[in-house]
Amino acid sequence: MRFFLAFVFLSTCFSINAQTKKASTAKTSVTAVSSIAAGKAVYTQYCVTCHQANGGGVPNLNPPLIKTSQVLGEKTKLINILLKGLDTHEEINGDTYENVMPSQSFLTDKQIADVLTYVRNSFGNKASAVVAADVKTARAKIK
């Protein structure tokens, strides 16, 4: 048991250490950092049920949001998935998912930007931030 505690303690130290290092080398901007924090709250309220706390999704049902070409890819496409929802069941990194993703268009431009920035910088992802103006432009094109 003592052994185990020591392990937990040490690995916590280790991962904190690693995180600080990562953040400083990536030089993430202050705005992106606050967007990520706000995005996490949106994720916890509107996405976590399906995509899960670790972003790993649910096998066969809901896709993982981890390093897929779409999640790391073109922002407009990603914004449109949130605005319109998704029910195409196309392959995502080699697998398909049976559930439907409802439209998230009730979220504000900022909420959508924040949650996508959070997703693109969590679960091992690293991609540029999405800003509210991007969402505004995409939303205007749908109407």
Binding site: F3, F4, A6, F7, L10, S11, C13, F14, N17, Y46, V48, T49, C50, Q52, A53, N54, G56, G57, V58, P59, N60, L61, N62, P64, D87, H89, D95, T96, E98, N99, V100, P102, S103, F106
Partner: protein, 415 residues
């Protein structure tokens, strides 16, 4: 320098810990917790997404694989105490598999096929199945077609509803229910077909029972001569109606229900759900419910109710004599494990319900647990194995399939 030392200690400690868990994994008991006198072993592994399983009379085990690229059915040939894996066949995904009257039946997500068994009870021509049922609806959600047979040559097929609760916009917060839910015409129920007639579709079968959102586990009870099914209850009460349900209520509700079905029964989906805490049928919020309003009594009551979202994927009435008397004719249920519970997932175990005179006779209990490999699953993909299928071996042992890693467990009792 100091951090290097810490790193070294860290590596050393994790090696020790990893080595320790490796030894555990090598032990005969695959980490399951069972009642006294029972033991478990792994008889096959890494098969793929092993869904339902069925034995022939020689003790060979047929496994239905989902989303397999090299064949959708695999036979594990019995060598007495162990099994030998034979080449897979059938190029379709799916869940259902059963043996009936000299044939192996297996389902894709749209069809039911069958293969003639030879005198060794093996499939003689795996490349030429007959199509028994075709053209069943598959719109992604709840598309698995589980199968069961009665004693009168009828085949029962679950056709799950392609929706959570028949909202105008599926899973959209606040969206209300579609009036006279049209999904029920072709799904959301159990259909009955002839076991020995080919190329049947909706027009040839009858909708045996309706108002069932999605049934994955079902079994014919030979004592009562009736079909029992396990329904997957609706999801996301809190996400969709946050003013009516707290996150905690939404985690527990609604019940996962066991129903005993008679012809033309209606279990009430999407208009109601069963609340196992109030022990009442409650009107669904999509249809004007408020969490308290009771539903019409024309809908049937469950035979047994379990906590929400645990996903019962298999049901088996135990007819063997290897297990102690208490288990005779009782129901084993494989709970696949939840995804829409917060803050932590539940299920990932095999439960047991004792039966007497064809009715549940006591509370349900956990029979086998530990499949997930951890006591606490927060995100579903942390579960290392998820129980999905059940079968009773010729010697009365219980077999459990797992559709994460494709492990087959054998659970036996020794006096």
């Amino acid at each position: 320098m100091k951090s290097l030392k810490i790193l070294k200690t860290f590596i050393l400690l994790s090696t020790v810990l990893l080595a320790h868990s490796y030894v555990n994994a090598q032990q005969a008991s695959p980490g399951l917790t069972l009642p006294a006198g029972f033991k478990a072993s792994v008889v096959a592994d890494k098969l793929g997404k092993a869904r339902h399983i069925a034995f022939n009379s020689k003790g060979d085990l047929f496994v239905k694989l989902d989303r397999s690229k090299n064949g959708g059915i695999v036979m594990l040939k019995s060598n007495g105490n162990s099994f030998e894996q034979t080449p897979a066949f059938g190029n379709y995904s799916g869940t259902g598999i059963a043996i009936h009257d000299g044939y192996l039946y297996a389902s894709s997500n749209k069809e039911v096929f069958r293969y003639k068994l030879n005198d060794q009870q093996q499939v003689s021509d795996p490349s030429k199945p007959e199509t028994v049922v075709t053209g069943l609806i598959d719109r992604g959600q709840h598309n698995s077609k589980s199968i069961a047979f009665d004693n009168d040559d009828n085949l029962y097929v679950n056709i799950g509803a392609y929706s959570n609760s028949c909202q105008q916009k599926d899973r959209q917060k606040g969206s209300m229910g579609r009036e006279g839910c049209p999904i029920l015409d072709s799904a959301g129920g159990i259909w009955q077909f002839k076991a020995d007639k080919l190329n049947q579709t909706y027009g040839d079968g009858t909708r045996y029972a309706t108002g069932l959102r999605n049934v994955v586990g079902l079994d014919w009870n030979k004592q009562t001569n009736t079909l029992f099914v396990m329904q997957h209850g609706r999801d996301q009460l809190h996400d969709l109606f946050p003013d009516l349900y707290t996150e905690q209520q939404s985690a527990e509700l609604p019940a996962e229900c066991m129903y005993e079905l008679k012809k033309d029964d209606n279990a009430g989906w999407p208009y109601l759900y069963y609340d196992q805490l109030q022990k009442k049928k409650i009107v669904a919020p999509e249809y004007g419910g408020d969490g308290k309003k009771e539903a019409d009594n024309k809908y049937i009551d469950p035979a047994a109710a379990f906590p929400g979202h645990m996903a019962p994927n298999a049901l088996l009435f135990y007819t063997g004599s290897q297990f102690p008397e208490k288990y005779k004719n009782g129901a084993f249920i494989a709970f696949h494990g939840s995804w829409n519970r917060s803050p932590q997932q539940e299920g990932y175990f095999v439960a047991f319900v004792p039966f007497k005179d064809g009715k549940p006779a006591g509370d349900w209990e956990i029979f086998a647990k530990g499949f997930a490999g951890t006591d606490k699953v927060v995100s579903t993909n942390e579960a290392q194995h998820r129980p999905c299928g059940l079968a009773q071996g010729p010697d009365g042992s219980l077999y459990v399939s797992d559709d994460v890693k494709g492990t087959i467990y054998k659970i036996s009792y020794q006096k």
